[in-house]
């Protein structure tokens, strides 16, 4: 039996090696394709049709929204697969395996399944709130992507107050979650919704202060400008003494904003079944899922813009670098998610108000002084 296991192990190792090689080749091909695609798009930009669309205000807005919405939806398909695969590997499992290459199309299959499912609205639910809640969650997420700079020119709307806009809009997610928790008329949902609301609002404070710390160092609120400043040195390297603590705080707050472990109290599976989306199924549930992962990408993207040099990197074009860094940061968040246990609600709030808020204030003051010193 042991011998059989060993050969099976060797076989498996060979298969795994093959898979890894295939994965690396595929990734390289993907990157090459992305670079080629980038240059193609850059060229297309100059064609008269695109130029016309770019100048027409309505068409411009429409085209950008179209691109952003599609990007958000499609990249989530990849992220969900990646999360499941990553978690699987981490847990001595294989993860999705059957639909497509290494289960790459699994999420598509799941999405199709969810979309085809019956749309169930509980009889005693508050119908209107229940129906609208998933979109209330999803909308702010979409909006935030409008200001996320994939490169200096690849940004939906180069808004002078980009960082503040992103923070302001993303907080509105809690409104949707509260609507879902209340509208479902379920006790678990209600508790989940209440927890989510308290949590998102509380962690918004240190999050905003940490972002302000970066602003203090950079001297600008525009995300594009913050990114552009890091062409030589990433913020986290150039201003390491203040930016490393700021990043740690930002990461913690981002995890809390995203309701991910260790802050997944709103959907704490063991206590609240699945919290605010207990009663949701089918398409509406898919929207929550979509929003969660899109938010995840956005938060990571924000961190990349603020701390990790935005779109700057050697060889590959800007948007590709930005995506790589962001996915890497998302992966780090997944890594944390699958390792640590969950906070309790009072500890979570206490941690925010007693530790994070003072710490972020200190970091902010330090950053302001550091910024003055650097500029002098």
């Amino acid at each position: 039996m042991a011998a059989a296991n060993m050969t099976a192990g060797q076989d498996r190792r060979a298969v795994a090696a093959g898979q890894i090689t295939a994965g690396v080749i595929l990734l390289a091909a993907l990157l090459a394709l992305a670079s080629v695609g980038y240059h193609a798009v850059e060229r297309v930009r100059d064609t008269p049709v695109v130029a016309f669309i770019g100048e027409h205000p309505l068409l411009n807005a429409f085209a950008k929204s179209f691109i952003v919405a599609n990007f958000v939806t499609l990249h989530v398909l990849f992220l969900i697969w990646w999360e499941r695969k990553f978690a699987g590997w981490m847990q001595a499992r294989l993860g999705p395996k059957h639909v497509g290459w290494n289960g790459l199309a699994q999420t598509v299959a799941d999405a199709v399944k969810l979309l085809l499912k019956e749309d169930i609205i509980p009889a005693k639910a508050d119908g209107r709130l229940f129906v609208i809640a998933p979109f209330l969650v999803f909308m702010p997420t979409l909006l935030t992507f409008m200001v996320l700079p994939f490169s200096a020119s690849w940004v939906g709307y180069n808004f002078g107050l980009g960082a503040l806009f992103a923070l302001a809009v993303s907080t509105n997610v809690s409104l949707g979650i509260l609507a879902a928790g209340w509208g479902a008329n379920n006790k678990y949902s209600l508790l989940g919704g209440a927890r989510a609301c308290a949590q998102v609002l509380a962690y918004e404070v240190p999050l905003a202060i940490t972002v302000l710390a970066v602003v203090a160092v950079s001297g600008t609120v525009s995300l594009v400008d913050i990114g552009a400043q890091q062409s030589r040195w990433w913020n986290i390297v150039a201003h390491a003494p203040v930016m490393i603590p700021a990043f740690v705080l930002f990461l913690i707050c981002a995890l809390a904003e995203l309701n991910r472990t260790p802050f997944d109290l709103p959907e704490a599976e063991s206590e609240l079944v699945s919290g605010f989306h207990t009663e949701y199924s089918g398409m509406r549930f898919a929207f929550f899922y979509l929003a969660e992962f899109a938010n995840n990408f956005f938060m990571a993207g924000l961190a990349v813009t603020l701390f990790f040099g935005g779109w700057f990197g050697p060889l590959l074009p800007g948007p590709v670098w930005f995506t790589i860094k962001t996915v890497g940061l998302v992966t780090a968040m997944m890594w944390i998610r699958w390792t640590v246990p969950r906070f309790r609600v009072d500890q979570m709030m206490g941690f925010c108000w007693k530790v994070l808020v003072p710490a972020s204030l200190v970091v902010f003051c330090a950053s302001a002084l550091w910024g003055m010193w650097v500029q002098r």
Partner: protein, 375 residues
Amino acid sequence: MAGSEAAQVRLEPDGGMTVNLGPQPPSTHGVLRLMVQLDGEYVRSCEPVIGYLHRGLERMFEARPYRQLVPFTDRLDYLASLNCNLAMSQAIERLGSVAVPERAQYIRVILCELNRLASHLVFFGTFAQDVGATTAFLYAFRERERILDLLEAMTGARLTYNWIRPGGVPADLPEGFAEGVLSFVRDLLKELPLYDRLLTNNPIFRMRTEGVGVISRDVAVAFGASGPVARGSGLSYDIRKTEPYEVYDRLDFDVPVYDEGDCMARYRVRMDEMCQSARILEQCFRDLPEGDIATKMPKVFRPPAGDAYSRTESPRGELSVYMRSDGSPNPQRVHVRAPSFVHLSMLPCLLRGVKLADVIAILGSLDTVLGEVDR
């Protein structure tokens, strides 16, 4: 805005809310239902409702001859069915004054300790799951899988083993079993520090478990807590030591005791017990004598009228079987004292005033198995 057209979540006049945790939530480890009165996140009171798994096993025992009782005990504590087999077999043996060959006793101890390891690994995994750490669960089950493979090689089954019988064990160790167990034990001892690193030392895990669900020594005694729950409350009470059965009096092992009485203490007791079980296994294989593996039992076993009591230390605590005979081939009464049953009865007084999240952590730390609660 809301509530105009639909009845909203019913609150009590003073703002309280009754939540029914169970009988099929993801976290109550079986079909346990907790009626929890909540005040916001705080628990006002809690009433466990059990019986969803009640099969009338004790009555079924009365309708069957002694030799057929043991398979049913697999269904008591299904995470450690060999320990239940042992309790039942011992009761029958004491009733009929049957002596068990020494080799059989060693094999029994080996099987029971392996099963204890498996059970504690399940505890580790599910407890981690209860406090929100997902990955530890799969690591624990990966190790447990190896125990199940070993036990499958020994008994042919993976969960309901039925391999400890009145009189001994039905078959000897298979080839390569000792090496398999010892190599597993070595690997497990290497793995346990990793578990500590992953979970025990994690500050969030410590915040969630330290000082939560404190059972004082007096309360533990008064409620009759046993096993890791009692030992987590500073009570050095292990039936393997106080009333040794089989060959436990010849084995050298420690009884881990922690004084704090909280979830962390119970967790640590179980983690330490895994090391002790590993020690016991190593000693058993070192000392394993040659000889018979079973005393021949008569086809129709008629013990003299009277009663017998067997107490064993199952992974959950004191699992004991009371058996009463009236001289006929079937027992007159069989009663199983299930540790989980006793521990669950502490729940209402443990849960008063804690937070909802702690309910799950405390319940997880008691490590109840509903199969033996409901019987």
